[in-house]
Symmetry: C2
Subunit: 260 residues, 2 copies
Amino acid sequence: MSSVLDGLAVDPASDRAVFRQIADQLRSAMEDGRLREGDRLPSEAQLIDHYGVARMTVRSALQLLEAEGLTRAEHGRGVYVRKKPPVRRLASDRFARRHRKEGKAAFLAESEQAGAIPDVDLIQVNETTVPPEIGERLNHSGPVVVRSRRYSLDGTPVETATSYLPAEIAHGTPIADPNPGPGGIYARLEELGHTLERFTEEVTARMPTEAEARILAMAPGVPVFRLVRTAFDTDGRAVEVCDTIMSADAYVLNYELPAH
Amino acid sequence: MSSVLDGLAVDPASDRAVFRQIADQLRSAMEDGRLREGDRLPSEAQLIDHYGVARMTVRSALQLLEAEGLTRAEHGRGVYVRKKPPVRRLASDRFARRHRKEGKAAFLAESEQAGAIPDVDLIQVNETTVPPEIGERLNHSGPVVVRSRRYSLDGTPVETATSYLPAEIAHGTPIADPNPGPGGIYARLEELGHTLERFTEEVTARMPTEAEARILAMAPGVPVFRLVRTAFDTDGRAVEVCDTIMSADAYVLNYELPAH
DNA sequence: CAGTGGTCTAGACCACTGC
DNA sequence: CAGTGGTCTAGACCACTGT
């Protein structure tokens, strides 16, 4: 009976640790298609038999692959080649005013267009003192209205977002309500006289914190994007900062750069 | 004698695995400042003594922290709270023509401005058939000139880049030389009549492949950005695709979005 | 129930660091 | 040299899955 392990062996005398050699061989099998998305890897017991090593050695190899985001272990079932989730493409014009005309907030409008079922939950709105990092971007100190929420697609959480707006702008307005109404808070800002002129986005990537991994139900080996967007009105005033954490395997970010 | 472990204990009867509890406690110490950047964590032997557990248990805890990018183990020395490397900020106008006037390629010009010592090595230029993924973006099939190189700052590799240009544009020109001359290949493209109009950038993040981790000397627990930039000339023709892999902890990407 | 992965123990030998 | 982390063995018991 044929298996991806046929003919594979490790060299205990090699400089490269045995568990790394085992991981290398399984990784190669995934790279050249002997193992495909969704396939089950050989079980720990099979790897132990095949390579003649202790269980911890094969577990170290499997853990390495999991940390690289290549596999996913399912308790009681097996270890599988990870499937890539559907990807959300963020276009650079996604906050353009024309996309707000239909009365939908950005996330809902885009998702329905992509054929996925969007959901928003864990909505919280409150008023606090601005965190220093955000205050710098808002060029504002003192009270801010803070709106946080979690977005899901087809039941899978993909993104959390926290918006900060100066209280003097947002206090007592629909922006401070859990449901800000059609078009989202950007539509409300414009109604309040803050016509939006431009946005800046600052993108970083890192492994999720424990809290982020929990709230986004993240698999090991998947990083997050952190995207901090600042909205400026036509007076050049920063009127909102939105701090977003996104499961990186669910996103492609598209931008346009000028050449002049 | 006082230590970050003072008063800390684990509950073996808890639902949460002991090694996760140990990781939680060390993570908390890093979050609230009891352990700071560069500090040494308690040694494995100290953790074993303090918690009364086996070595594999404390190693599992430490490995979890390393995979989260929080710590770095140094053989024979100890486990340390990871220091954040200096960050390179990429501005959205970094390919604007005005930045090419001084005759420096983008990377060198920026780095010197930031006070770091840039280096470029592993330069390779050859001609091959265009990979499908790149061909789609170039809207071109057939031969391409491929330029790949590695960039370092202060001796630390931070980025690899591979440029693809249609051979009919680049063949036999300085673009196909290892050293393309002042201003880099974008200056050469414009001299050849391909005035650059705009760029698109597509940003993703994931854990590095084994090969990427090696060439960029990456620590465990640090993801990479993949940035695929396409350059268009004033005829709307895609004239270059640049595929870049960057150590994510060394970069912040800045972009501007229009509101209209 | 058998098979799977999750956790944990109690050792062993090794390689690297710094004194 | 003592102290550190890196690798590996050979078990144990548990929880989850599917038949």
